[in-house]
């Protein structure tokens, strides 16, 4: 089917993103920080993240605890009918997070979950999941925490594990894994919520985000469609404004939940999982819009042991793209602030701000005119660059994104089931026909009108791949610029 496509659309030799396997468990952690610090002698030798005390951390993060009074939610009918509960607890059974309801009122339930886990551990075994009709219970034991999902969705166990890993990483990104472990080594009974005020909101948002956005499912990032020249201009504006700054690891520009460009220190790549956490942080923190912020941030896949420091700001009043400059130096706020000003000036001069605004507003709706009358929607993931593209939602999915996501999740699950992976999965129901296709270079998930013949579907897919190939330099970041 793909004979006419020589290089898979969107594929390049070099990628700024670490490529992912499906259901990457985010297990592999590197220790990039030490490496960077040792190669570039850091001005401040004193860099004891782990000892920074609680108050300091709370100050330095910009999160404000929302004081919304939790209603008296206990185990009500409304509570039990939630489609997905997420619980986080310590190994000792102390509540840390519950997606719905007040943790203190649910303390007994956390107790039960801890008992179950330790009961099964006592016979040298590990609990993985429980299934009861439409309700599934998935356990992830990730020392020193226990994460539990209770869901009535159609997602697979693997998909839930991925989601729980994201929650774990969200917590690590605030505390670092080293600190998290140390806390429990010192006091098993520690109430972690004291350190996580405001983080609940991030986790809440992450969960909603990961349910709606296919990027989590695919382990990939969507790029803002921009002409290649514009994207190059933006990257070079960032490089030329920052190349004098030591220890700057990543510069990330994003808008509308899509990546515009990623400039990186040579040798270092960013994992999509880390980038998703950054997207989540930007999206969930309204306060970032008003001022420049300076925030410590641990990227668990990059280095779970320590913090990067981020200068976070929106480009300008008239351009809602967010720029993050991530460094290992903890006190270069002003240097980076100046660099940001230079970047904005250059972009303004190069008319890049308008180009970004235009790309955000124009929904790229012309794709349907490209001769795919029966094609409703699709996801195209280029594996080698961990990027994907999806057209804007059209009918009938514009009103039921959740159903479309269910369809994609089911297809993804079929292709990537750990037990019996597949090369191709086609399903036809009264609602739609779905083709999911996994090749060496790309993954494609496409939904069609339910009665489309297989011949027409294959023809469409061939044409679609050509179409993506033709526009690949606009739809994907094909370069992986470095400082």
């Amino acid at each position: 089917m793909s004979d006419n496509v020589e290089i898979d659309p969107g594929a390049t030799h070099e990628s700024g993103l670490v490529t992912t396997n499906s259901f990457d468990n985010l297990e592999r952690m590197s220790s990039s920080l030490e490496e960077i610090k040792s190669t570039n002698a850091i001005s401040h030798s004193e860099d004891s993240n782990d000892n920074s005390n609680i108050e300091q951390l709370e100050e330095s993060t910009n999160y404000v605890k929302d004081n919304v009074e939790e209603g008296e939610i206990e185990v009500s009918r409304e509570w039990t009918s939630k489609s997905k509960h997420i619980f986080v607890l310590s190994q000792a059974g102390k509540p840390i997070y519950s997606r719905y309801g007040n943790e203190d009122k649910l303390a007994w339930l956390f107790g039960v979950m801890q008992t179950l886990v330790s009961f099964i551990q006592s016979s040298d075994d590990t609990i993985k999941s429980i299934h009861a009709g439409d309700t599934h219970f998935v356990f992830l034991i990730k020392k020193p925490l226990i994460l539990v999902a209770v869901h009535k969705t159609q997602e697979s166990e693997q998909q839930l594990i991925t989601q729980l890993n994201y929650v774990f990483n969200q917590i690590t990104s605030i505390l670092t894994l080293t600190r998290l472990k140390k806390i429990y080594e010192q006091r098993q009974n520690y109430d972690l919520r004291r350190l996580l005020t405001g983080v609940e909101r991030l986790i809440d948002h992450l969960l909603d985000f990961s349910e709606k956005d296919p990027s989590f499912l695919l382990g990939a990032v969507q790029c803002l469609p921009l002409a290649n020249s514009v994207r190059d201009n933006i990257s070079s504006a960032i490089i030329s404004s920052c190349n004098k700054i030591k220890n700057l690891v990543f510069a990330i520009l994003l808008a509308d939940n899509k990546l515009i460009t990623l400039v990186r220190m040579k040798k270092y790549c960013l994992h999509p999982g880390d980038l998703h956490l950054i997207f989540n942080l930007v999206q969930a923190s309204e306060s970032l819009k008003n001022s420049e912020s300076w925030t410590p941030l641990c990227l668990p896949k990059f280095d779970a042991s320590g913090f990067l420091y981020g200068h976070v700001s929106y480009l300008a009043e008239d351009c809602q793209a967010c720029l993050l400059l991530l460094t290992v130096d903890r006190d270069v706020f002003f240097t980076l602030s100046e660099a940001k000003q230079r970047i904005v000036e250059r972009l303004r001069r190069g008319n890049c701000l308008e180009a970004i605004n235009e790309a955000v507003v124009s929904s790229d709706a012309d794709w349907n005119g490209a001769g795919f009358p029966e094609l409703r929607h699709y996801l195209y993931k280029c594996k080698s660059t961990a990027q994907f593209y999806q057209p804007p939602l059209g009918p009938p999915y514009s009103l039921s994104l959740r159903r479309l996501m269910d369809v994609y999740k089911r297809s993804h699950q079929r292709l990537h089931s750990s037990a019996r992976p597949l090369k191709l999965a086609f399903e036809r129901s009264a609602n739609e026909a779905v083709l999911a296709w996994d090749t060496r270079g790309f993954e494609l998930y496409a939904t069609f009108e339910p009665l489309t013949s297989t011949a027409a579907i294959i023809a469409s897919v061939g044409k679609l791949l050509d179409w993506v190939k033709k526009r690949e330099d606009k739809l994907f970041c094909l370069n992986a610029p470095t400082f």
Binding site: I130, H131, A132, D134, F137, A419, K423, F426, E427, A430
Partner: protein, 464 residues
């Protein structure tokens, strides 16, 4: 490549969570426990865990009681057949202590091989067979008697459980029917009606030819269990004794001569020598609201098997059996000859079926009929014409059927380029394994269309 170990049973137990127990007397709740070698503390611990899981899951108001627990080393399946009664089966995912990566590999493979829907079906079957002969658990007012009966049934039953060869057919638990032409079918009907009207004690009758059901007068759900029992246990055991001469006198010149006459295989198996009736098995049918008790009398001649369901309050006498035999035997022999003749005409020579021809499994939810060209025999021996992998993929498709609506189609291409197709329409399910490498989606969907036309004539598949 590591050799795979087979699925094996870790434990199997039945308990009633409401039997009041004092501290230290938890053992009383347990009605049956296998293996007996597990220490009482272990038994209590295991039951305690299940109770904990039941309570925990109920908090979230699931659509059905808990079905399964997955852990690293084991898979536990639950079935609540009657209020407060739980049947639990635990399967080992590994038999060996895990220390090296290679062994973990086996574990992973076994874990993937154990499909909840398949083994849950196996668990349910075990209860239904028990209920068929021993009535409901609830009907026992005295737990001690119940415990004895459960042991009588489950000890041998669990030994014969073919865990390794369980597959999608266990989910269907279907019946193979033999389609006949009108005339032959009417002859079978006449035979049955004649017997039923001559002997009012006979409430219902079922008629089988070899492994195929021709007529059944009882509810399909009951027949399902009886069919499995007949095909899986009773008939194979008898065919063996027939072949060995068995209860027949050995001095008859040809062993086949003996078979020219019908005989009872439950009840008085040798009428000529019988002085007493022997023990006639009793079973319970649940088609109506309340369980109804019947004597289960199986009569066999040549390849035909006739099951008589005789009212439970009848007083059976040896005379009754002798009379029945005299009436039935000649008619049945003639009837079987007719059926055999008809079948001989229908048989398509098996050489037409090439190795690479598509293999399929068909199941009709309405009459529980199934047909399989994947399984070469009825013995659950793992004698297959397609890969086990393909069979498992079929069960994967079955699991997701409910999400796709009443009519749907799934076409999957495996990592080694085989294709597995599932089609659902009109309460019928059709699964096909195609071993055609290098085929395209279009070719496969055409091939499936052809197969539906040739094999399932007259069954309307919705375009979707």
């Amino acid at each position: 490549m590591v050799t795979k170990t087979d699925v094996s049973l870790k434990n199997f137990f039945i308990f009633n969570s409401t039997i009041p127990t004092k501290e230290g007397e938890e053992l009383k709740k347990i009605l049956y426990y296998y293996p007996i070698t597990d220490h009482a503390d272990v038994q209590i611990k295991n039951v305690g865990l299940v109770e904990g899981i039941i309570n925990f899951t109920e908090t979230f108001k699931p659509s059905s009681p808990v079905n399964s627990l997955h852990t690293n080393d084991a898979r536990q399946l639950y079935f609540q057949p009657e209020k407060n009664f739980w049947v639990v089966m635990t399967l080992h995912l590994t038999n060996l202590p895990k220390n090296k990566d290679g062994l973990n590999n086996i574990e992973q493979m076994l874990e993937d091989d154990i499909q909840d829907n398949v083994y849950e079906a196996l668990l349910k079957q075990s209860y239904y067979v028990f209920r068929l002969f021993w009535n409901t658990l609830y009907s026992y007012k005295d737990t001690d008697t119940l415990k004895v009966e459960l042991e009588k049934f489950f000890n041998p039953y669990l030994k014969c459980l073919k865990l390794a060869h369980a597959d999608i057919l266990d989910i269907f638990n279907g019946i193979q029917y033999l389609p006949l032409d009108k005339n032959t079918f009417l002859k079978v009907q006449c035979f049955i009606n004649h017997l039923e009207s001559s002997y009012p004690e006979i409430s219902h009758t079922a008629f089988l030819y070899n492994d195929h059901l021709i007529w059944s007068g009882i509810e399909p759900e009951d027949m399902q269990t009886i069919y499995q029992y007949l095909i899986g246990t009773l008939l194979p055991a008898n065919v063996e004794t027939e072949l060995q001469g068995g209860s027949m006198p050995r001095n008859i010149s040809s062993p086949f001569m003996a078979l020219r006459h019908g005989r009872f295989i439950t009840g008085p198996t040798n009428l000529k020598l019988a002085k007493t009736m022997g023990e006639v098995p009793v079973l319970y049918l649940f088609g109506s609201d309340k369980p109804v008790k019947y004597y289960f009398v199986v009569y066999r001649a040549l390849s035909a098997t006739v099951c008589f369901f005789i009212k439970g309050d009848t007083i059976l006498t040896l005379d009754f059996f002798k009379q029945l035999d005299e009436v039935a035997s000649p008619k049945l022999i003639a009837l079987v000859t007719d059926i055999a003749e008809y079948c001989a005409k229908q048989i398509v020579s098996p050489s037409v079926q090439s190795e690479s021809a598509p293999k399929f499994i068909y199941f009709n939810n309405l009459n529980l009929a199934y047909k399989s060209t994947v399984h070469l025999d009825n013995k659950r021996s793992g004698n297959l014409t397609c890969t086990k992998e393909s069979l498992r993929i079929m069960a994967d498709i079955e699991e997701k059927n409910g999400l796709l609506g009443k009519s749907n189609e799934t076409i999957l291409k495996t990592m080694n380029d085989y294709w597995v197709v599932g089609k659902c329409s009109n309460s019928r399910q059709f699964y096909i394994a195609l071993q055609q490498k290098n085929a395209s989606l279009i070719e496969i969907s055409d091939e499936v269309k052809k197969l539906c036309d040739s094999e399932l004539k007259g069954i309307f598949f919705h375009p979707v």
